[in-house]
Amino acid sequence: MSDVRLMWRKFLNVVMLTLTGVAALAVVSVLFMILGYLIWNGGKSLNWDFFTKLPKPVGEDGGGMANAIVGSLKLLLLAAVMGLPVGLMAGVYLAEFSGKTFAFVIRYTTDLLNGVPSIVIGIFAYSLIVLPVKHFSALAGGVALAVMVIPITVRATEEFLRAVPVSLREGAMALGASKWRTIATVILPAASAGVITGMLLALARVAGETAPLLFTAFSNRYWSPGWQQPIASLPVMIYTYAIAPYDDWHRQAWAAGLVLLGLVLVANLGCRLVLNRRGTYRSV
């Protein structure tokens, strides 16, 4: 091989290495820029009032978003109660029971559902719940979010159940366990860490959704008792406050963004801690 050719190969090697490295760095730095900007701007506006007070009328400074924080939690609770069990059971069916063709259909449909723009899901919940009762409600927002939670949960459950080794199934079957018994007592526990993480990711994902809430849960500048009234949520508040022409509202929008991120992060870490404490069970 000639020297020129060798030089060229070395040169190309360095160039490609640099290009991929720069791209990787760009990905990481974008995330850190967002985080940094959020903490910088949000941190300045964050105070105790933000967590405890209701929004002030336009023109008055101060106030907080206590109702939106509780509202977001209530909406997530609804999404979890309605979406997670359905997603979990459909995932179990997909991984354990369905034949090839039907599984393909379910999997394909689930992926499509996952790809449906969130605003479309909002319209769906709007026409399903808001139109018949003629008012926005927390329930409608919860349904919209639940519809988004389901496909993510289905696929996570399926994937983690499939990852459980066949040998465990056979071990349980060989002891005379029925299929359902095997799933409930051996396979699901073995996959639980992954399945729970998947569920949490699904909730974290919808926690930041604005579009499906815009015309289902709508928003509310006051407390919203029960499930039948319009309810405030952090993402919709961020949207409303960010496009408003008031500096004070912009600051509050930043703070709301930071709180939303914090909520998701705390939930994630908490879950991980609980799962880690169960230790070796995860090593399957």
């Binding site: 369905s98 199934r169 071990g171 002891l175 005379g176 051996v186 526990p189 069970y281």
Partner: protein, 278 residues
């Protein structure tokens, strides 16, 4: 859904053509009672036949070893004895497998598997504590007595009690490979099976642990009939009373272990045990 598949399988089973045995197991003494009697067994994965017209007698309270090169169908055959192959889609059984004179294909599969336990090639403890692993079979079978006594008894039978008695609540994954395999044996023994099927139970273990398991098998003979698939011919020679040699899905030779290893009748058996192939 599963039961529908089983139903289909049942209808697919054809009346067995009982073939004349090529090795009629006449050496098995009249006084020895049989646990398993297999008559004209064919097994299919889809359209591919893996076992051909197999006839075999497995006497009570003895160890029967199945040897043969990889892919000769010995594991497949072993797994038909507790109908584990039914968990694989598109499989089909033809022929008769009699357990104490009863056709296992007509039996309730849960009852069958309670009577015929299985230990697999790789230790497969459940992600539970040592105690819960052993208690698993008892719990799913609705055992009403005192669990802890039976757990201890089973662990003792599997020669594991002394090593784990202080750690019963620890995860089974904390055990070494050999301990895990003995735990799996204890788990199988807990439901007090009449037969224990061992599918290459020592292939993932070191020689010392292997020796322990062979010794364990020797002691278990009092209460249990065993069938073991092994790639290790020394193991078959050491640990079994009868040996069956399989090749390409067919039973070539079946005899008392010392006789099969010293004076094989079939040239293919001789070639295999002397290491000329396989």
């Amino acid at each position: 859904m599963a039961s529908a598949a089983q139903g289909k399988e049942l209808t697919a089973r054809v009346t067995p053509k009982v073939r004349t045995a090529d090795s009629s197991s006449t050496f098995i003494g009249k006084e020895e009672s049989l646990r398993f009697e297999i008559l004209g067994l064919d097994f299919f994965y889809g359209s591919k036949q893996a076992v051909f017209g197999l006839n075999l007698k497995i006497p009570k309270n003895k160890v029967t070893a199945l040897i043969g090169p990889s892919g000769c169908g010995k594991s497949t055959f072993l797994r038909t004895l507790n109908r584990m192959n039914e968990t694989i889609p598109n499989t089909r059984v033809v022929g008769q497998v009699l357990l104490d004179g009863q056709d296992i294909l007509q039996m309730d599969v849960v009852k069958l598997r309670r009577r015929v336990g299985m230990v697999f090639q790789r230790p497969n403890p459940f992600p539970k504590s040592i105690y819960d692993n052993v208690a698993y079979g008892l719990r799913i079978n609705g055992y009403k007595g005192k669990l802890s006594d039976l757990v201890e008894h089973s662990l003792r039978r599997a020669a594991l009690w002394d090593e784990v008695k202080d750690y019963l609540q620890k995860s089974a994954f904390a055990l070494s490979g050999g301990q895990q395999q003995r735990l799996c044996i204890a788990r199988a023994l807990a439901v007090d099976p009449e037969v224990l099927l061992l599918d290459e139970p020592c292939s993932a273990l070191d020689p010392v642990t292997t020796a322990k398991i062979e010794e364990l098998m020797f002691h278990l003979k009092d209460s249990c009939t065993m069938a073991i698939v092994t790639h290790n011919m020394q193991q078959a020679a050491r640990a079994s009373d009868y040996t069956a040699f399989m090749l390409d899905g067919k039973l070539i030779e079946h005899n008392e272990t010392p006789k099969l290893f010293t004076t094989p009748h079939d040239p293919r058996t001789e070639a295999y045990i002397t290491g000329r192939f396989g």
